[in-house]
């Protein structure tokens, strides 16, 4: 069985800059949770945009469901991949229900009215993400965490096998971060969706993701199980920051420690070097 996303020897760089994604190859199986991590400028979001064809690779190929990504029309691709970006307040005062309804755009007919089946998808997405209780409120009145849930509800109502997320929890507090990841995991387990999330939070990524792609700023990359990829040496090399790695039961965690950390014995080695 081949993966639902196959990336082979992918390279990308904006015109004048040097190539920052070099020869990236990986394969994601249907129903797995992939976390993409790495420092700023490593090309995480770029990789996501390549997967949903907002950008065209300089070399290499991307296959979605065994067909090259460029062989899909915009509409067909929107039935395969749903994208969640960082939440924002739209220009006009759309309500939660209206925003989630837009997920059905790639399925609508000439005049763009939802059928009963469309409405079922919309209601199910609203229920599952716990956004139904404020479905008639405009997005501007919600908190950031609530708004992010709405965008995830929209992606769910789009009814695609693949879900791409670009730093879905960046501006959220701890409770909402965990809430969003729980929701994603539920969707993976209950709906067997393939989830690809770009994240800065390697602890949450290690907890929730099945596989991890770690991108370095120099074009290097590592792909594998989260516990293998996130080794202390690897993290220090890629992110350029030392820290404390620990383990509680089966969960691995990493705490970055800077020069002025109160307990800097953990990174004494680093301080002596500099």
């Amino acid at each position: 069985m081949s993966g639902i996303i196959e990336v082979e020897n992918l390279s990308f760089g904006y015109n004048l800059q040097e190539i920052f994604l070099k020869d990236v190859s990986f394969e994601v199986m249907q129903g797995t949770f992939l976390a993409i991590a790495g420092p700023n400028g490593a090309g995480k979001t770029t990789l996501l945009n390549l997967l949903c064809r907002l950008l065209t690779p300089k070399a290499g190929s991307i296959k979605i469901d065994a067909a090259p990504v460029e062989s899909y029309t915009v509409k067909e691709l929107a039935r395969k991949i749903a994208v969640v970006r960082q939440e924002f307040v739209p220009v006009f005062d759309f309500t939660v229900a209206q925003v989630v309804s837009m997920a059905r755009t790639p399925y609508l007919g000439t005049f763009g009215f939802e059928t009963r089946a469309d409405k079922n998808h919309i209601n199910e997405a609203l229920e599952m993400t716990d956004t139904a209780r404020f479905s008639s409120r405009p997005l501007a009145e919600l908190s950031g965490g609530e708004r992010q849930r709405v965008f995830i509800a929209r992606a769910l109502a789009q009814n695609t096998p693949i879900l791409l997320l670009d730093e879905p929890t960046s501006f959220l507090d701890l409770k909402h971060q965990v809430g969003i990841y729980d929701l994603l995991k539920t969707m993976q387990l209950e709906k067997s969706k393939t989830i690809v999330a770009v994240t800065h939070d390697i602890n949450l990524a290690a907890q929730y993701a099945d596989v991890t792609l770690l991108l370095g700023a120099d074009g290097s990359h590592w792909y594998g199980r989260a516990e293998d990829v996130f080794s202390p040496e690897q993290i220090e090399r890629v992110f350029g920051v030392g820290g404390f790695t620990g383990r509680i039961g089966r969960e691995k965690f990493f705490i970055p420690l800077g020069k002025f950390a109160k307990d800097n014995r953990q990174i004494g080695r680093k301080l002596n070097n500099s």
Binding site: F92, Q98, M102, F111, G112
Partner: protein
Amino acid sequence: MAEMLTSRKLAVRVVICLAMLGVVMCLCAFVGTQEISLKRVFAGPGVKPGENIDYEIFVGVRLPRVILAALVGAALACSGVILQAILRNPLADPYILGISSGAGLGVITAVISGVTWSLWAGSPIAVFAFAGALGTVWLVWCIGHFTGKSQVTNLLLAGVVINAFFSAVIMFLTSIAKSEQVHSTIFWLMGNITEKSLTVLGISAVCILAGIFALFCISHRLNVLTFGEEEAKGLGVDTAKVRLVAFGFAAFITAIAVSISGLVGFVGLIIPHGVRLVFGPDHRQLLPVSGIIGGVFLVAADTLARTIVAPAQLPVGVITAIAGGPFFLVLLAKYSRKVSWLK
């Protein structure tokens, strides 16, 4: 459960609004300097021409003018809705991308050069205005298209630059023109609805209604487009295509409206806003309802314009600006307060 728009709900609302438009049009057609009686109008044209003056005024003068006002109002309001959506800017109006100055340049060229030929029963002023409007929009589109990828900002900038440049040319031509030529140009620039031939009315009606229908067919994609390029593509919308279609038809119906009525301001800005405040931002509903309410508004404004200083007539643009501003402020105050009470 939140209310969702269905085709049935929309149809009911559109029919109610159309009925309102019909009533307003009939009422306004009876108002004027010459009093006409309902009974005499229904008596029919009579055997020989000139027998029933009331009927002839109603059918020959008032009705075409009222229909014309409704068409222009609908075109401007719909065009405003579309431009606000594709530019993702609530302050956009039908004239923001240079249509006004382009048409104005066409008109003053026609007036100064004194051309007398006509095309499809359109006066030289109308033909030149139409050509000027579409030519400018095309120019703005090309500049916006070839200067970079972030099309929305570039389009706006190109529109502003072209507007400024053409306005300067208009000023120059006005300053060298004779005074009686300037008078007719200024009336046109203020927006002025006058009686037009049935041919002009027919052609405009078909073009404007067809344009609005085409825009209605892409209206659900416009909802998504207001979220931005990336979001829209992710939801399966071919953004370049939809934007081109929306822009093209909006420019087309605006050019028609401008060529028959001059630059009627405010309708394209306040009607979409007002309708959005009351009915919400879903374009499938916003577009048709704005069109109809735009028609109602301009019919009423034009009736005022031709009666308030009778027997003289004001340019309707003066009325829309004077009435539209405060009306909009009231609407805004009312609805923003309603929102804060709920909190």
